[in-house]
């Protein structure tokens, strides 16, 4: 990271270091959001449909875990992956895969809770028909997720937004190592602590632009799908 205050030129100039950081940020937050969606969509749908003892409790818990502090999640993953922790032998601490894993944990409750709400609202409408058709649990989940897919884009984007924006877990688990685990958010935190606020703001704007682009792509995909579905 060049230490010049000319944030603008850095941002606009296609600096290769910046490019690498942007790339890593995107890879990590998109991977985490995708993993969280792959796990969270079915889990959220299941939570909306299933009736089992403790379901209400689990619902509250998942909804509460939208408020998991990133630092705490980061620490928990850190303690697991640390050399003195149970998974230390994996040698994953301070690597991108560890960052993805930690962010997935952080984002998962968000995706599950929002999916649960969306699917539950649809389930109210579909319940009788699907029950009358004797559609089994697995197929219910698939059907509701498919039919709610356009609304679920918002759940995915909420997860992605959280992953892209947060700094706590990636800082602790990744270590903010230059050229290796430095992401946009940890770079912003670093520049802030160096007192280079203009550069920090400039990087922040770059990050926001990236997030906007990802959102615009997701929305366009959704739009295309909606038009095709009629």
């Amino acid at each position: 990271m060049p230490d010049s205050a000319s944030a603008l030129s850095l941002v606009l100039g296609g600096d290769p270091t910046l490019y690498a950081i942007v790339r890593l940020s995107l890879i990590i937050s998109l991977s985490a959001a995708l993993l969280a969606a792959i796990l969270g969509f079915p889990l959220g749908a299941y939570l909306a449909l299933a009736r089992f003892p403790g379901r209400a409790f689990l619902t509250v818990l998942v909804s509460a875990f939208m408020g998991l502090p990133p630092v705490v999640v980061g620490l928990a993953v850190y303690l697991m992956l640390s050399r003195s922790g149970p998974l230390g032998f994996l040698n994953l601490l301070f690597t991108p895969p560890a960052m993805i894993a930690a962010q997935t944990l952080l984002v998962l409750p968000i995706v599950v809770a929002l999916t649960r709400q969306t699917v539950e609202d649809l389930w109210i409408e579909y319940r009788d028909e699907l029950t009358a058709m004797r559609v089994g649990p697995l197929r219910r989940v698939v059907t509701l997720l498919w039919d709610a897919r356009f609304s679920l884009v918002t759940a995915f984007l909420a997860g992605f937004g959280r992953a892209a924006a947060e700094v706590g877990t990636v800082m602790i688990v990744g270590g903010n190592i230059e050229g290796f685990t430095r992401t946009m958010t940890t770079a912003i935190a670093l520049e802030t602590s160096k007192g280079d606020l203009p550069l920090a703001m400039g990087l922040g704007l770059v990050l926001i632009v990236i997030v906007v682009v990802v959102n615009a792509l997701a929305w366009s995909a959704r739009r295309v799908g909606e038009v095709r579905a009629g």
Partner: protein
């Protein structure tokens, strides 16, 4: 084989840009990647204690010696020093500008209840600050009031805070020189030899953590302590000012 080591260090070394200057030189010579994690001093030592770093590079002599004594580190080597400075508003609200007596200056600040920002994070700088209050015969735990702000953050954040509160803050010179948001702050007190700030480097004990890359880590330590490494440190300058003063050979540092 993976030619990289992890060094746990403090925010001051990272924020001052020193690593950005010396690591490429080391890499050029040895081909070894040094991954620097910059954390609070306590956290950096803890990272070493857990075996998550190969080398610890911090500035809190007492804690470092404890670290080695407890068997987590092989040996502590002095590397370099810089000095602390008392930074404060240009308007000189405490009237201590230009003083070379840190104890007297702190006393004045306490008496006039001028805003003072403390790191409050058990870092090396924070320990040094608490020591200085003691030297000034002030029981800061008793005397602290709304004028004394413990912010529990790194050096940069402390400077940012002091800048916006128009208060005094103890900083290491390296961070201060490279700091980009000085606002109305300037150096108020410097040059007192009680403001000395010694850095040490320690190899994490492979007997404790067998996976520690002791050869590569030792290579890094040897290089830092070598005339070549020491020169690299001395050569790091911002605006023509030297930030760190190598003293690997100094006795008892």
């Amino acid at each position: 084989q993976d030619q990289s080591i992890v060094v746990a260090s403090t925010t001051s070394t990272q924020d001052s840009g020193l690593f950005g200057h010396i690591l490429p030189l080391f890499k050029q010579k040895t081909g070894i990647d040094v991954k620097v994690i910059s954390q609070g001093t306590g956290q950096a030592l803890d990272t070493g204690r857990r075996g998550d770093a190969d080398v610890v590079f911090v500035h809190a002599k007492a804690q470092e010696e404890k670290f080695v004594a407890e068997g987590f580190g092989v040996a502590r080597h002095p590397v370099m020093y810089n000095d602390f400075i008392l930074v404060g508003p240009k308007s000189n609200p405490a009237g201590i500008k230009g003083s070379r007596d840190i104890a007297a200056a702190l006393k004045t600040i306490r008496d006039k209840q001028v805003p003072f920002v403390s790191r409050g994070d058990k870092s090396g700088t924070h320990s040094a600050e608490l020591n200085l209050w003691k030297l000034a015969n002030i029981d800061i735990a008793r005397d602290k009031g709304t004028w004394y702000r413990e912010i529990g953050q790194g050096m940069g954040a402390a400077l940012n805070t002091a800048s916006s509160m128009n208060g005094y803050v103890l900083s290491d010179r390296g961070t201060w020189i490279s700091f980009k948001n000085p606002g109305d702050l300037e150096i108020a007190v410097e040059g007192d030899k009680r403001l000395f700030n010694q850095y040490g480097i320690i190899l994490v004990n492979p007997a404790r953590h067998p996976h520690v890359k002791k050869e590569l880590g030792q290579k890094f330590i040897d290089w830092v302590l070598s005339p070549e490494g020491q020169k690299a440190i001395a050569d790091y300058k911002i605006n023509g000012q030297q930030l760190f003063f190598p003293n690997a050979s100094a006795q008892g540092a």
